[in-house]
Each structure stands twice: as structure tokens, then as C-alpha cells.
């Protein structure tokens, strides 16, 4: 960890955004939520880490050579394409992009699992994928047009 979460927040407050986003701290967070439930000040640190990850991707400021952002992006692409995440294609795609040599190291295990039917390679596309696209599109449109989608009368769910 380059900076402890406390230092991340201090740096953020000091306006040192690049230092925050380029640190490995943010992408090391594995969302175990210990900090969130323990924080004596009630700060939802895990959520903050997610926010910082998103900021980093948005601004193109992430730790040099980090795999995690690539993984997340690929994950999002696959979910948007299939509606679900096929684990193996995901891992392959990520490693192809970042560390192709490791694929070979994984072959012995993979073969065993494959033979037992535990490694399906073919992604399954949900039938509601167009439904999701519609929702997603409507949301983006509403956000882009800057109109608050709920400002009309009687929309409260």
C-alpha cells in the first residue's frame, strides 16, 4: 500500500488528486468492508475507494502497469454484451491484455477443471440484454440532458 486510507483522504483534501489516483491503494482495495464497519467516524471507506477507482478511470489516472483497472473495464464490457460475466473468457481477455505469459502457467489447472466440466468457455447471453440496453440508454440520456429524471410530478416510486 503506497498510502494508508487516512493519507489518501488527507491527500484528496489537499487537492493532490493525481497522487491519490495513481497510488496502488485504491486498486488494492478488495472490498472486504472491514474499514466501513469499524471506522469510528462512520465513514464508508469502501464506497470512497469505489468512487476513487471511477475517478481514476474517468480521468485516465491510474497506477502504472496496474491490471485491476483493465480487469474492471473488461468486466463491464462483458456484462454489457452478455448480461452476465463468463469467468474464463473474462480472465483470458484480461491476461491477454496484461500478462499473456500467465495463461500458460494456468494450463495444468485449467485442463483438470475443463475435463470436469468446470470450465465453460462459451458465454451465455441473457434474453433481456436489449431491455438492459434500453434502460441504460434512457439513463444516460436523462443524465446528459441534465434533466433530473424524477423532477416531474408523481414519479416517486
Amino acid at each position: 500500500m503506497d498510502y494508508t486510507p487516512r493519507e489518501i483522504i488527507a491527500a484528496f483534501r489537499a487537492g493532490l488528486l493525481e497522487r491519490v489516483l495513481r497510488s496502488n491503494t485504491v486498486w488494492l482495495c478488495a472490498s472486504c468492508y472491514y474499514c466501513t464497519v469499524r471506522c469510528p467516524s462512520g465513514i464508508k471507506l469502501t464506497d470512497i475507494m469505489y468512487e476513487l477507482k471511477r475517478l481514476g478511470v474517468e480521468f485516465g489516472l491510474v497506477q502504472e502497469g496496474a491490471i485491476a483497472p483493465a480487469l474492471s473495464k473488461t468486466f463491464v464490457d462483458m456484462v454489457d454484451r452478455y448480461g452476465r460475466v463468463p469467468e474464463i473468457p473474462l480472465m483470458m481477455a484480461v491476461l491477454l491484455k496484461t500478462d499473456p505469459l500467465r495463461i500458460f502457467k494456468m494450463i495444468p489447472h485449467g485442463l483438470k477443471l475443463f475435463l470436469r466440466g468446470r470450465m465453460p468457455f462459451l458465454p451465455h447471453r441473457i434474453s433481456g440484454i436489449s431491455e438492459l440496453e434500453k434502460c441504460s440508454g434512457a439513463m444516460t440520456e436523462a443524465l446528459v440532458s441534465g434533466l433530473h429524471p424524477g423532477s416531474g410530478a408523481g414519479e416517486e416510486a
Binding site: H109, M119, P149
Partner: protein, 295 residues
């Protein structure tokens, strides 16, 4: 059997892949306990952490579609993956607390003629079994007690953190309780709710392996013969990376891992095949009751 509970069942992506046995065994034991799990039709990814790391609103939207589908069925949602549990619960909660988010998601759902009013509860199968089914009925189903089997009860991060008020957030006990009902002996396992490192295996293997090692070490030190898991990611990490740990740290762990539903199934008298207990990575032959061998 007295109980009849109905849930929409949400297996989650990882149960379609390497964790098929979790799905299989969960369905088998649920059925025998009178829990009717009907798979949520055409469910999608919950919007888990990796998605949340890039797209917040769309992650909530993904959860919301699942919740909306479940609401249509007028059933609560039973899940087996704690990460799905946390993600779905988070969206459920945040939409309840934040009117702006609720409205944003509601209008997006409307584009596909969906709506979500916020009535669905998302629950982990373990919690359903321990709290709703209870000791008496579980024990009544046990035909092959796991006598003296020393099990490390492993919960991982997201069973109770951050939202689970049904059990302790630092040191949960539900799995311990269930294992005792099955006749097994849950060993003292102080790291029971620590991170397995699974999230880091692809992105930062050294740290991930260190975490796996300390878990295995702690389990073995406390006399465990196997580990019971409730999370597909934890399960794969502990199972598939033991070899890497042994290589890296010059250790020789050979600790079998079982989904908690597999151990239930063994105690209920199901066969290896019905529970998907395989031997491809670590042998469990020496620890399971003899009858299971025969089956």
C-alpha cells in the same frame, strides 16, 4: 417436513462457471428442507465490485433489474454468493435511502416497462437455513452425521459486512451453528471473516497468495481437516491456489474445501455425484464418511 418456503433463486455468474457444484448442492439440500428455489428468470450480473469500480449508476441499474424481476414474482431473493448479496443489498438500501437515486433508476427501468417498488428482501441461503428452517428440521434431515469432522468455518468478507445485521460483523457464528447441527466440529477459526485474497489473484498475486497462506495456516494450526465455504470466490481461491501457495512458501497444504451445502448434503445422505464433490484438485477421500465413498 413442516417447512415450505418460496424464494426466487439468484445463482450469480460464478455459479455458472467454476462453482457449478455449489449450485447443484444448494438446490439439492434446499429441496430436501422444503425451500422452493425457483431460478429468477433471465437474471443478469448483480453489478458486482468490478462493475461498480467503473460505473456506479449502471451497477445499481443491474441490481435493480434483478430486484424488479423478483418483485414481479412476489418473492424474496435467495442468493448463495455473498458478493451478490452485498451488491444487491447495497442497491436495495441506497435506493431506499436516496430518493434521487431511486427516481433515476425508476425512470431508467421504465424504459423497459419495469418497475421496482422496494419490497424485495435479499437473503443468503445460509441465513435462511439457520434462521427460518432452524435446528429441529435440519437435524431431522441428518442421516449421516459428520461425526468428529473438524471443519474450519470460513465466511469471507461480505456475508455480514457491511450490511448483515443478522449475525456478527466481526465474528459471525451461523455457519458454526449449522455445522454443529450436522454433527461436525467447527474449529476455532479466528480468520473466519477475513479476506481470501480472491479479488487480488489476477491483479496482485503475491498479496493474494499471502492471504490464502495465512488462512490455510490458521485452519491447520487449529486442527481443521477441511474448510467449509459459503462464497464461490473464497472457495475457488482456497482450492485452486493451494498449489501456488505450497510452491511459493514451500509448504504442503492439502486441505479439502467444501461448499457448506455440500457438507449438508453429505450429512443428509446425498451421493457425491448429486453434490458435485469432485477430486480434481484436492482429495477429500480420507475425511468423508465411508458411505459417501461407497456411493
Amino acid at each position: 417436513m413442516g417447512s415450505h418456503l418460496e424464494f426466487s433463486y439468484y445463482p450469480g455468474c460464478s455459479l455458472e462457471g467454476m462453482n457449478k457444484a455449489y449450485d447443484k448442492s444448494a438446490r439439492a439440500v434446499s429441496k430436501s428442507l422444503g425451500i422452493d428455489l425457483t431460478e429468477l428468470n433471465d437474471w443478469n450480473c448483480c453489478g458486482a465490485s468490478a462493475y461498480m469500480s467503473i460505473q456506479e449508476l449502471r451497477a445499481h441499474l443491474l441490481s435493480a433489474r434483478n430486484l424488479a424481476l423478483a418483485e414481479k414474482e412476489k418473492k424474496d431473493l435467495a442468493v448463495v454468493c455473498p458478493a451478490c448479496l452485498t451488491t444487491l443489498t447495497k442497491s436495495n438500501r441506497y435506493m431506499g435511502e436516496d430518493p434521487k437515486l431511486r427516481r433515476t433508476i425508476a425512470s431508467a427501468l421504465r424504459a423497459a416497462n419495469l418497475q421496482y417498488l422496494g419490497t424485495v428482501k435479499v437473503r443468503h441461503l445460509l441465513e435462511v437455513i439457520v434462521r427460518d428452517i432452524g435446528e429441529q428440521e435440519v437435524k431431522a434431515r441428518v442421516s449421516r452425521p459428520l461425526s468428529d469432522l473438524k471443519v474450519a468455518p470460513y465466511y469471507g468478507c461480505q456475508f455480514t459486512r457491511p450490511f448483515g445485521d443478522f449475525d456478527d460483523k466481526e465474528s459471525p457464528v451461523m455457519l458454526d451453528t449449522l455445522l454443529k447441527w450436522l454433527g461436525a466440529e467447527p474449529v476455532n477459526f479466528p480468520l473466519k471473516a477475513k479476506c481470501c485474497g480472491g479479488m487480488l489473484m489476477t491483479t496482485n498475486e503475491p498479496i493474494g497468495l499471502g492471504l490464502v497462506r495465512s488462512l490455510l495456516d490458521c485452519a491447520v494450526q487449529n486442527g481443521a481437516e477441511c474448510v467449509a465455504t459459503i462464497c464461490p470466490l473464497c472457495h475457488i481461491t482456497l482450492e485452486a491456489y493451494q498449489g501456488n501457495v505450497n510452491k511459493k512458501f514451500a509448504t504442503s497444504y492439502k486441505l479439502p474445501t467444501f461448499y457448506f451445502t455440500q457438507l449438508m448434503g453429505v450429512a443428509f445422505g446425498f451421493s457425491r455425484k448429486e453434490l458435485g464433490i469432485n477430486e480434481e484438485l484436492i482429495s477429500s477421500k480420507r475425511i468423508l464418511p465411508e458411505q459417501v465413498e461407497a456411493a
